[in-house]
Structure formats: C-alpha cells, structure tokens
C-alpha cells in the first residue's frame, strides 16, 4: 500500500527578553545552576506570578508576521502535572484563549515552488527547569534557571507531507522569529525546540491516522532524521498489520531512533483551568499598531513589493522574499547589477541551487551580495558571457577568489568582442569546414550553431556569443 505522511509541528521559541515571563530573574544563558531562580521561580509558598510586559510585543509581532489574528483578550491557564523540574506542579500556559490565532506562512521547497502552511495558534507559556541526570551518581540534580523562561509555542496544522517540508517550515519560522527580534534563534542554547506529530494514512484517504509526538528536537538535522525514522517505523508497524500507538516519543541522536517516553497507560490528564493569579491579557488596537510600526518589512509585504517594483513573477517574488536574509541578498544583487530580473533568476537558480547542494545556510553564503551583483553586471556590460560567469561564481564559491574583476583579469576571461581579433579565426574555421559551409548554404541554418560553437571552443568561451553569431552569419551569406 502507498502511504501518505502527515506532519504537524509544535515549535517552542524562547522569547528575547531580559527577564523571565513571571519574575524578574535573568534568562541569560550559562549561569551556574539555580543562580537565576527566585522565590517565584522556585514556586515557594505565597509567591505570585506577574507577567513581564515585554512578552506581549514579541508575540504580537510574530502574529502579525504570519498574518494571524491577535486576540484582543487572551488568558493564561494552568496545566497540571508533577515533575521535579516543574516547581509549582503546574505550568502557566494559554489553552482556551491564545494570544495569536490562525495565520500562515509560504515556505520555499527544494523544487523551487512555494507551499502554504497554515498555523493554528501561537501561545505564551513558561518553560520548565532542567533535570540533570549525568552529573550525579544515584541521584538527579535540578536546575531551575530555565524555569519561567518565556516561550511562544507555535502550533501548525498537519499540513506537511515530508521531513524535508518540515525542515523548510522550521527554518522559515526560525528565520522569521530571528528577523523580527522575537527570539535570538540560538538553537544550540535551546531557543527553538520542536515537537513533531507524525502519522501515516493510505494515499487518497482523508482521515488522519494515529499520530505519535516526538518531543524536544532542537536541531533541523535531528528533526529530519527523527521524522524519517518515525515514518519508516510507522510504515513497518502498519504494513505488518499492527496499530500505531498514540504516544509521546523521544529522539535519541546517538542511536538515530525514536523511543517511547510515556506509555498510553500513563497518558496525562493535564486538568487545565484558568489561572486565577493572573488577569486576562487585554490588548488594544493602538498597541498592535505601535508594534506594527516598529516591525521590519514582512515576507508577504516584501513579495508584493518585489512583484510591483521589480516586475518579478509571483513565485520568484515569494521564494526570494521568504527568507529575510535571502531577500536582503537579492536586493543588493539587483541594485548592484541594475537588472532585477537577471538578479532574481541567478539568485533562485544559481545561488539557491548551490546552497541546497552544499547544505549551506543563508547566513553563511560564501560570496558577498556585492560581488554577486558585480558578476551579473559584468554579464550585462558584456565583459563576460553567462557561461564564464558561472565559472567565476564557482571560483568565488570555493573562495578561490574574492573579487570578480580581479579573477576575470587574472585568468584572462574577458570576452573577446573585438572583430579584428575574431574575424581571422572565423575565416579559418569556415575554410577548414567546407562541408558545413555547403550545408548552410543549402538552407540548413542550424549549422550556424556549429560555427559559433567552434569559435567559442577556440576562444575558451571568451568570445562574445552575440557578436560571433553576427560575424559568422555575415561571412557565410
């Protein structure tokens, strides 16, 4: 049977604030255990949470960034469960009335197209502390520095169909929250963690299969591997006539597998109810407008501008605008070469192709946008041909060169547009190939390409193809 993979993602993004969501403790990374844990963070008797107002503009900026509704009234709830690193015995989160509802993003796929992923909601919550199992013998340490760190949990619809799509989506969200200043996006420090809900169903079925939730994956690579493992595992279960258990699993990167974390028997009932220690969050339109005013241009706004200002196609515009860094890169290239369409084409095909092939992040592009733009300018001013330009780009990519012009000069790559230099060569080629000349004169004009090709070969591609074309045509007629 053919199976369709269905994946929804929950992304926990750590908000870029100075202090915790319900206390004044610092959230700076790397402090000694429990140094950044106040009475509130420890859940001592008699303490009360007070919301750090800095979290609201962050959540709202994200909501506006994905075209979501911002709830004018949202509220906190308690999620109850016992765990040693959860000091109060409940987590303060938003269940019934999240601050961000709906929205969507358009993610670029490897084949150059874009796909819309619907977002269900995004809500504010506090992080738990950490249990330290490795540092102690026969006991567990608890570090509550992380307890109370502000998080935005972003919940997608089950719109993704492969691990690759999930990674594209997660990367998109990562870029967006970093670009908007919602999060520092530092994956190594746990600023972005994913829970993947994976299920399979027969192709053509509209019902969802039983899903598993793989929790707390904190790198894109592990995310892809965890999902791929889970897809294969579920497929084997289903094809051997078994049933997928609805359960929570953990990905173990050392063994590259997912394992059950909690069994169904101990399935949690979190007994959510409204947090009585906090008032509802009331936000007015003016506050939203203020947040919007201070936001950089959003991907969807950029895409519209790219279409109107640069006359790019819809898909070109969406792909280039999807990632803020890529969009900035493209705009510098376009400005440098003064040819947005050429820039769009080269960035999408040549740049993205190379990034994809070499698994390089947009933040680590080895060629500066200025040099990339200059390269395209050299095509347009006929210094080099498009074909040579690709070679130059390869050299720059491998960091064998850092200046387009220097590399062209040093390797003598300038296009030969001097008819005085080309004409003797063309005359010689015509003389050496009488058979082809005859064919041409008999009306087989396709042979023209043969002559042009010969000229290009003799000049190592440096001849200006357009000029060669004209000269050959003239001499043969």
């Amino acid at each position: 049977m053919e199976w369709e993979t269905v994946i929804g993602l929950e992304i926990h993004v750590q908000l870029r604030t100075q202090s915790k969501i319900f206390s004044g403790s610092s959230i700076a990374f790397g402090a000694a255990p429990n140094i950044q844990a106040s009475a509130v963070d420890l859940g001592l008797p008699g303490v009360l949470p007070v919301v750090n107002q800095a979290v609201y503009p962050k959540a709202i900026a994200f909501g506006l960034g994905i075209g979501a509704d911002i709830s004018l009234v949202s509220a906190f709830d308690r999620k109850n469960y016992f765990y040693p690193d959860l000091p109060k015995g409940y987590q303060i989160t938003q269940m019934d009335k999240p601050i961000v509802l709906g929205g969507s993003v358009e993610i670029p796929l490897d084949d150059g197209s874009v796909k819309t992923i619907q977002i269900t909601r995004a809500h504010l919550e506090e992080d738990a502390g950490k249990s330290l199992h490795e540092e102690f013998i026969d006991s567990t340490g608890i570090d509550l520095n992380r307890a109370g760190t502000p998080l935005l949990e972003i919940v997608s619809e089950p719109d993704m169909r492969s691990a690759k799509e999930v990674v594209s989506y997660a990367r998109y969200i990562h870029q967006l929250v970093t670009y908007l200043g919602v999060s520092d996006g530092n994956m190594a420090e746990g600023s972005l963690r994913c829970d993947a809900n994976v299920s399979l169903r027969p192709v053509g079925s509209s019902e969802l299969g039983t899903r598993t939730e793989t929790k707390n994956v904190n790198s894109f690579r592990f995310l892809e591997r965890a999902i791929n493992f889970e897809v294969v595992r579920q497929k084997e279960v289903l094809e051997s006539g078994g049933r997928v258990e609805q359960e929570t699993r953990l990905y173990d990167p050392d063994r590259d597998e997912t394992r059950p974390m909690r069994s169904k028997e101990t399935a949690m009932d979190y007994r959510y109810f409204p947090e009585p220690d906090l008032l509802p969050i009331v936000i007015d339109e003016a506050f939203i407008a203020e947040v919007k005013k201070n936001m950089p241009e959003l991907p969807r706004e950029k895409a519209e501008r790219f279409q109107s200002d640069y006359e790019l196609s819809n898909v070109d515009a969406k792909v280039l605008a999807s990632e803020p860094m890529l969009a900035d890169y493209f705009e510098t290239v376009a400005a440098t070469c003064s040819d947005p369409k050429l820039a769009a084409n080269w960035v999408r095909v040549e740049l993205l192709g190379r990034l994809n092939k070499d698994s390089i992040e947009t933040s680590d592009i080895p060629v500066s946008s200025e040099q990339f733009g200059l390269l395209l300018l050299r095509i347009n001013d006929q210094t080099i041909s498009g074909k040579i330009a690709k070679d130059v780009l390869d050299a720059l990519w491998k960091t064998e060169a850092d200046s387009v012009d220097d590399y062209i000069d040093a390797n003598n790559l300038k296009q030969v547009s001097d008819s005085g230099a080309l004409e003797p060569l063309i005359d010689k080629i015509i003389a050496d190939n009488p058979k082809q000349v005859e064919q041409y004169r008999e009306g087989k004009t396709k042979v023209l390409g043969f002559f042009v090709g010969q000229v290009m070969k003799e000049t190592s591609g440096k001849a200006n193809p357009k000029q060669v074309n004209e000269l050959v045509r003239k001499k043969l007629s």
């Binding site: 009475a39 420890l42 859940g43 001592l44 008797p45 008699g46 303490v47 009360l48 949470p49 007070v50 919301v51 308690r78 109850n80 016992f82 040693p84 000091p87 109060k88 015995g89 409940y90 608890i142 009932d269 007994r271 959510y272 109810f273 009585p276 220690d277 906090l278 008032l279």
Partner: protein
C-alpha cells in the same frame, strides 16, 4: 489593658501610660498563662520585645507611625522572613520563608509589633480549627467549643486578650465565622483590596486577607494600612484606599439596609435569629431604613464553592511535593514514591479530601459538569448581589447558622461542617466586602452579625458597624474566665 482597643492603646502609648515593651510583655505573659487555648503556633518573644523597644524609641524620637508599638499576631498563613510559616500543616513544619508577605511588611512599616503566628485550620481548609496539625484551638468563651475557622487562632487570641489584633484570611468565611464565634470584629474586604503576595494560597480567586479586631474602628485603622495596590500581585486592585477611620461617623441617616431573607430560612438557630432581628432596631434608631431583598441563587453558593475552591486548591497545593522544601518522606524508593508518600504523609485528611475533589472536578469529561457550571453559578450570584445593590446600600444577615459548636461535634460530618459557611461563602464568590461584628448572645455564646457592602465600599459597612458599636456594648463583652483577670 489587654482588652483596650488599638485606638485606646495608641492613646495610652502616646500619653506614656504604658510603653510598647510593657504592653508586649503583658500579652506575652498572657499567652503563656492561656497556652491551653492553643492560639499560637509560634510565639516570637525575643523579636517582639526587640521590636517593642524599637517602637518605644521611635515614638520617643517623634517617628511614630499609625500603629507604632501595637502588638499584633499574624495568622500562620502569612509568610514571615526568618520565622517558621506552617499554614497549620505538617507539610511546612520546618519552613522558614525567605520573604515577608505584603500584609506583614505593611503592618511592620506602620510600626506594629509582631508577637506571634496564630493557629489555623490546615491550609485554611476548615470551619473549626480542628484540621490544624498543631492541634485544635479552644474557644475562650467556652473551652469545650471550637473557635470557628479557619482563622480560629487569630479570633481566639483577640477574644482572649492575647494580642491587640490579628490578621486573618477568608476564602469562604474564615475571618467572619471565627470572629462571630469568638465575639470579635472581622472584615474581609473586596477581593483584590489587600495583596495576596506572601499569603499561602488556598483558592486564589477567593482568598482575601483582613484584620480581626475588638472594634470596627480598629478594623478601619488596620485595613487602611493593609489595603492598596501591590506590584507583586496582579489581582490586587489599583483603586485608591480611602481613609476608613475618617468616614466611620458618617451619619447612617437614610442608609438603605437590605435583609437577605434567604439567610433566615431553615437552618438558622432561633437564638441567633433573634439576635439579628433585634439588631435591626439599633440601625433603625440610627436612621437607616430596612427592606427585604432576595438573592435567588444563594442556595447554590455552597455547591459552587466546593467545586471552585478545591479545584484551585488542587493546583495550588501541587508545589508541596517534597522536592524543594517542607516535609519529605523518609527514604523514597523512586520519584513517584517521593511524591506520593511526601504528600500522603505531609497533608491531613481534609486537605487530601479537597485536593482529590478538586482534581476530579477538573479532569477530562467532568470539567464542564462541575468546574464550568460552578463558574456560571458564580456569575449568577454576582448578578444577584448587583441587583440587590441597585436597591439597597448594604446587606445584613447572620454570619453563621448557630454559635460555636462543641469540639468534635462535626468532625465526622463533612457536609454539616461545610454548612457552617452557608452565609459567608456568597461574599467570597462575588468578591464583595463583608464583615462580622458581635451583636448579642445565644445560650451565653456570642452571635455575629454580618454586613455585606458593594465593591470597594468597605467604608459603608465599617461606618455602620462602628455606629452600631457606639450604641451597643456586645463588642466590649469578654469571656467570664478572662474578665476575672486584669
């Protein structure tokens, strides 16, 4: 001097009739003398005398605050830095809070001397003070009877002359009912009037602190100090705190008092009913007009309360897990064992009962039937009160269905115990200010009169209570066994 009101004591301290050290030592002596009442969990002899000495010095230096040198007791639910705070539970038998509750710090800043921490029902869950891990408190009027609860230690300490005043908390009647049973004055202000920071939570949306005193005037004085916005409590109201003492003598002429007829239904002891009905004449003499009002949904207040309060408590008490502080079971075999045994052994039966009820009503499949429905009833009760306050200024009724009952009388019957709060719970559900004042006796036991005001209008019930006390001497009566002493 032990039965002087705070107003009188301040006068004496100012005139130098006695010093704060003398007053404090006097109370400390009496606490020892009446230790069998078991009003206190902790007596802070050393630090109280030290604070009293500082108070005397401050007064001599002309730096006296509104309460300088007045010895007060705190219910052991308020966190006090460096002093054990137990909430009446074994769970916190060894717990030293690292900070002061806002109530504690405000009263200390005003100059009050903290003399001790009073006994209470465990985590404020009880109406008789019999659920305390530290033993029952005896009612000074009749030591075979309960003082009421949960602020039973505070009420008995004020009634027995073991402090000038005490703090209490009221989630379903825990200030007013013991005040009634012990013949003292107690006010639960509007929900949010007083910060809950440092007040160990029972049911967060219902808990409210308040003063327990000998007179309405003292209550006004203490409430003025305790009330007001606190950045540490988001539910604490930003509203201005009026000068309650100044408005005590505002004439009651034309005050419209509503009688909650629903409070005089079946279940109210005849002697208590008579006391309340007779008190109406005093108010009429003071110029108030009396009319009847109905609160149609009041009968649902107990069931709604016993869903909402345990639900919130079940979460609020989750932090007592034996991990970071408080009671921990011996030699836990694993994590689950640590949680289960620490909580099973550390909590008393009533607390465990309410945690289980609360967890049940919040669980999947029952939430709508219990918790959501209870919240809807709460809304209806609020609406009932608002309809009543469209017609009258304050409401009047009994505080409790009967005077103090005997120790052990209701411990085996939870429902009978829960019905003790039948007249007080609605005030918590609606979040309204409400107080109890002594209004007479039934079978030689004090009977409390309850006054309920509109939101943030503590001033009206305090003024009515104060002027009632100017015309009556019920609040000056003291238990016979105590009156024999000086």
């Amino acid at each position: 001097m032990q039965y002087d009101s705070i107003a009188q004591q301040l006068d004496n301290l100012i005139r130098g009739t006695y010093s704060s050290v003398e007053l404090t030592r006097h109370y400390l002596d009496r606490i020892k003398q009446h230790a069998q009442l078991n009003c206190y969990i902790s007596v802070l002899e050393e630090s109280a005398l030290e604070a009293a000495q500082q108070a005397d010095q401050a007064r001599a230096a002309g730096n006296a605050g509104p309460l300088t040198g007045v010895p007060i007791a705190h219910k052991d639910i308020f966190c006090t830095q460096g002093v054990k705070t137990t909430a009446g539970s074994q769970m916190l038998y060894n717990y030293d809070a690292p900070f002061d509750a806002t109530v504690v710090s405000r009263l200390a800043t005003a100059g009050a001397v903290t003399i001790g921490k009073t006994n209470m029902d465990e985590f404020a869950m009880g109406s008789s003070n019999e659920t305390s891990y530290y033993g029952a408190v005896l009612n000074p009027w009749d030591t075979t009877r309960v003082p009421g609860g949960s602020s039973g230690g505070s009420a008995a300490a004020v009634a027995a002359g073991l402090c000038s005043a005490a703090t209490g908390t009221d989630t379903g009647g825990s200030i007013r009912q013991p005040a009634a049973h012990c013949g003292i004055t107690g006010i639960k202000p509007t929900y949010g009037r007083i910060s809950r920071w440092g007040m160990i939570a029972f049911a967060s949306s219902l808990d409210q602190a308040g003063p327990m005193t000998r007179t309405a005037e003292d209550a006004a004085l203490l409430l003025g100090v305790m009330a007001g916005e606190d950045p540490l409590d988001s539910t604490c109201l930003a509203a201005d705190v009026p000068n309650y003492v100044e408005s005590l003598n505002k004439p009651l002429d034309g005050l419209k008092i509503g009688i909650c007829e629903d409070f005089f239904a079946e279940g109210l002891e005849a002697g208590s009913e008579q006391v309340i009905r007779e008190s109406l004449r005093v108010f009429e003499d003071l110029g108030a007009t009396i009319s009847s009002v109905r609160l149609p949904h009041i009968e649902y207040s107990i069931p709604a309360y016993y869903v909402i309060a345990p639900a919130e408590a079940s979460a609020n008490l989750s932090r007592y897990d034996g991990v970071r502080f408080g009671y921990r079971c011996k030699e836990p075999t694993d994590l689950a064992d640590l949680f289960k045994r620490s909580r099973s052994e550390g909590f008393g039966d009533e607390v465990k009962r309410r945690i289980m009820v609360g967890a049940f009503t919040l669980s999947t499949g029952y939430y709508d039937a219990y918790y959501r429905q209870a919240q809807q009833i709460r809304r209806l009760i609020k609406d009932d009160f608002q309809a009543a306050f469209a017609e009258v200024d304050i409401l009047l009724g009994p505080t409790a269905p009967q005077p103090a009952f005997s120790l052990g009388e209701k411990t085996g019957d939870q429902v009978a115990m829960y019905l003790q709060d039948i007249y007080t719970i609605a005030g918590n559900l609606a979040g309204l200010p409400a107080m109890s004042i002594p209004a007479g006796f039934s079978s030689d036991l004090p009977v409390g009169l309850q006054l309920i005001g509109n939101y943030l209008d503590e001033a009206s019930i305090l003024a009515a209570a104060h002027q009632f006390q100017q015309r009556t001497d019920w609040h000056q009566r003291v238990p016979a066994s105590m009156a024999a002493e000086n």
